[in-house]
């Protein structure tokens, strides 16, 4: 399962975000103590803090890594109404192996707390989306990837609702797309997740969908890595965890030119209320097959789809690293066996047999 390794984070206030870099060998943490720490994975498997510096004059809500192609770059956003881009000075390190990070830019357009910051997927170049508590999503771009100090504000999207989180759609074959979640507490205010898409013709971002089923305040939102999928999976953390699939409906080529935005077939593929409390954060694994969620119950739950596309809990972790105690352990264990793909018993491979449907298209699968 998992081996817990405690990290002496030693932040002086709450840690609000943890982010791994592209290769998973560096980690950044940010805290209300206005500092960001960068941790590097040593050869011995230990994480050591290689940088710790004051980034903002308010709580740092989120930290995120840029694609390493752009260098060792992180972006932070803060209660102090700014977002900042930081770059590590390569080759320079002080005694004790501490690395130097320098502020490349400070994005000061927001009038309220900047609640999330996310780099665009690499194929869109060096772009940065921020969202703020007053409901404005801003898209910045560094036209010259070699010059991280010059960012121009490309778009401002007004979402009407106070924004708490943002997520880029990682797919490279679809139009650039952003999902925005709102922590607006009023359930009658309508859907709290909005999907915006960039239109090449109008050169504008426009709203393509509002996910109306989510009316509670949304704390986190994450697109799953797309890989080869023809649809998008969107994880939403609210009072419960939801997974929404967005399948782009094919449009004929002619209409693409003239009419506006894509249409989607929205489907809620899963909804879990096992946390039984506010769910704060979500994270997908790299293949988009396992979703981790964590909430006020102090637990992390891992969700995975089985062969029938039913999402099931495969694991529950305690937030303090004390090991996994499952109330529903037996059931989950069983689930795991079926899902691990490694089971040597008959039933699980039978399930897998069914999955090879393209090869056995007609007739009944042999084991039924």
């Amino acid at each position: 399962m998992f081996v817990a390794r405690s990290i002496p984070a030693d932040h002086k206030d709450l840690i609000h975000d943890v982010a791994f870099d592209f290769h998973g060998r560096r980690m950044a943490t940010c805290s209300s103590d206005q500092n960001v720490k960068v941790w590097d994975l040593g050869e011995d498997g230990h994480w050591t803090c290689t940088a710790n510096w004051k980034t903002h004059s308010g709580s740092v809500w989120k930290v995120t890594w840029a694609h390493p192609e752009f260098g060792q770059v992180i972006a932070t956003c803060s209660f102090d109404r700014t977002a900042a881009v930081w770059e590590e000075l390569v080759g320079e390190s002080t005694e004790h192996g501490q690395k130097n990070w320098v502020k490349r830019t400070s994005l000061v357009d927001s009038r309220t707390s900047v609640t999330d910051v996310q780099f665009a997927p690499k194929h869109l170049g060096l772009q940065l989306a921020t969202c703020s508590a007053d409901g404005i999503v801003r898209i910045y771009e560094a036209p010259d990837v070699m010059n991280l100090s010059q960012w121009s504000l490309q778009h401002e999207i007004s979402c009407k609702l106070s924004c708490s989180c943002i997520s880029w759609n990682p797919s490279r074959v679809h139009q650039p797309m952003i999902a925005v979640g709102s922590d607006d507490a009023n359930p009658s205010g309508g859907g709290k997740v909005q999907i915006y898409e960039y239109n090449d013709n109008s050169r504008k971002w426009s709203k393509v969908e509002t996910i109306t089923v989510v009316t509670e305040s949304v704390k986190d939102i994450q697109f799953a890595p797309n890989l080869g999928r023809s649809y998008h999976l969107l994880g939403i953390a609210s009072k419960d965890v939801r997974i929404i699939s967005l399948k782009p409906l094919r449009r004929d080529q002619s209409s693409t030119q003239t009419s506006g935005h894509s249409k989607f077939d929205l489907r809620q593929v899963a909804q879990f209320d096992e946390h039984n409390a506010q769910v704060w954060r979500l994270s997908w694994n790299v293949t988009g097959t396992v979703l981790a969620s964590s909430g006020d119950d102090g637990c992390v739950r891992l969700w995975k789809a089985n062969y029938l596309d039913n999402w099931k809990c495969i694991s529950v972790l305690k937030g303090d690293g004390s090991n996994v105690k499952l109330q529903e352990s037996s059931q989950v264990q069983q689930q795991q066996q079926t899902l691990s793909g490694g089971a040597m018993n008959g039933t699980s491979s039978c399930l897998y047999q069914n999955k090879v449907y393209p090869i056995v298209p007609q007739g009944k699968p042999p084991c039924h």
């Binding site: 998992f2 890595p225 080869g228 305690k318 105690k325 007739g363 084991c367």
Partner: protein
Amino acid sequence: MHTVIEAPINAISTNKDASQVVVAGRNVFRVFSIEDDAFVERCNLRVGKNLNLNFSAADVTWNPVEDHLLASAATNGAVVTWNLNKPSRSKQELVFNEHKRTVNRVCFHSTEANLLLSGSQDGFMKLFDLRKKEVNCTFSGQSESVRDVQFCPHHYFQFAAAYENGNLQLWDLRRPDKWEKMFTAHSGPAFTLDWHPDDKNWIASAGRDRSIKIWEISHKPRLLHTVQTIASVARVKWRPSRKYHISSCSLLVDHNVNVWDIRRPYIPFASFEEHRDVVTGIMWKNDPYVFLSGSKDCTVYQHMFKDAVRPADRANPIGIDTNVNGDLGLAFSDKLLVAGKSQTGSSMLPHFFRSKGPDRSEQFTMASSSAVIFESVDKSTGLEWFIECATRYQLSGKSVEDLCDHNAAVAGSLNKHQVAQTWRILKLLYGGNTATPCPPRTVSVIGSPAVGEAHKAESEKVNLKQQLDGHLVQDHNRSTHTDGENKDTGDTSTAVSEDESDAESSLSLTNIASGQVNQQGDFFFGDGELETFDYPVTMANMDSMQDWTLPTEAIPLRHEIQDRLDSPDPLQNATDSPSSANESEFSSQAFGNAENATPMYNLQAIPFASQNPPWEFSHLVCDMLEYFAEQGDVQTSVSVLIILGNKMKTPVEDQKQEQWFMAYLELLTRFRLWGIANEVIKLSSHRAVASLNQQSTTVHTNCNKCFKPLTRAGWLCDRCKALTSTCSICHLPVKGLFAWCQGCSHGGHLEHLREWLMTHKHCPTGCGHICEYT
């Protein structure tokens, strides 16, 4: 509760019992009484014939002793007192024009009603005696402009001043010549200070450096706490009867009134967000739950503490992220963990957890988080298999069936049975098509007529097929049982029973599969060679039907084995001896997944089944690849695409292929498998993908004489018609390694330089530099 006034407010002040408030600004000067639900105007001080600057105020203060006395500071340097008891319409009483510049602050003595202190931009502070109507004494800080002066509420003679250069001074009224203490409090101008209402040694100051600092001033001033805010701080005021709470408002940017707990200086304890412009004055109503604020937005608000926004409650207490290996990075608020603990009734509490009282409204102690990394050691969440597959898959250099076999074995060994099965099926589908120049082909000439005969004979009698199938399975049963080497009897029996039940249902399957027979002339041999774990079935059949085929069958197998001696695959080794193929290794591998194996028997039956029209399966393969991609397994899709290449009759959509390739490449780079990523790019038949490793492959060089880019070869400059990068010793262009001294940047052939520097110390060019060769 609020009231709107016609002009921006510069300052507010309340009377002794906080029942009235005076509101002053450039164009406003009014007194309101504070009723239960409204502000009621008592008096307008800005009346008279000539409203000069004396009627405008930068600051205002109410006498804490005499309820009818007010003082205001004007921007023209005048200090004005007002007497509300004056019968006339104008309440203006005294005007002191002592200061040369703006007066920033006026302050009454806390107990002596007639003492008024002012601090001005001109750098002086003056103490006025209202009875004598004159300046009692003048204090010169000998610093810069005075931004704030405040009498100490605990000490009759003491007052403090804040200066624009960031200094704080403590004064004694009895010593007007020199300050008692002075220290630098802020890195920019200090705008405000406030004495702690209870602790007489505490003083708070704040300034443009956006920080609020709490000082202990009993001996040597000592910094106790720093609160970092997001904007320059204009005013600070301690919250009454709360030792650690202080309210602040900003000079710009931030329109909120924030109340901080100095012990947790990062997040405001409470925020009041009503104002639309910067707040200029805060007055607590002698009550920790109510205060008034005036703002540039022309409003005065009375705030109740229960209406406050609690930013800490909105702050996200959890951070989580998954890295490429499936490890979870996690940061949890300790508070949550404690809560979670008590919920689940777990006993052990780590020592650093402190339980916290339930009274949310006043509880605001330090919060902290613990960070944990959950390292994934589990197959269901980890991605070891991905790396293993990526590194061990063979994508080129062999025939399709070899590659499929190898990859099937790899996938099988990693417990990816579905993928392994897919490879095997692909081998069946495509293996025969490859014109592999392997030895079996020659044998197939011998074998195929016999098979062909068998086929013909069978195709005439359709019922025979079913019999044959049954026969086949029985044969298989017999072979497995008689051999008796199968250790995994449980599995075998299920396999067998499945087989038997399949005998009926296999009709469709055989039909499907039989299509291949027609496509591939020597399918039988292609199959026999490769389907190792089907082998016994084949053998059994052969035995029962045509004894003479066995030797010919054995030959190609031997060849195959020799071919693949280097293969690490245990399955292959299992076929070492055809007669005892059903040995333990075989059974565990092949029969371990009885169901997996089952269709293979059915497929195996193909050669003996009836002839049917050609079966077009390409689109099914497409579907299958798409299925894998939809499941998030682009690895399989891409690997299959590469191996099959253009053999697929109905190719996958171009865009989709690119999407898969790009996704797979990104995954590979995430795992830092650059070599494999490059191989995938190289093997890709997709144009956009294949061109990926032709990007950024140009190295531009400049001539070392004219510093212009070299256009053609790297050693001749077209512009200055000279050789570039010549060796300093032989003066010929260096085409291999150019060794150069980092000190003088001269160099040349490595060999030449080495020789030169063996005997000389100086640079061969004569530049005088003493080069070092290491």
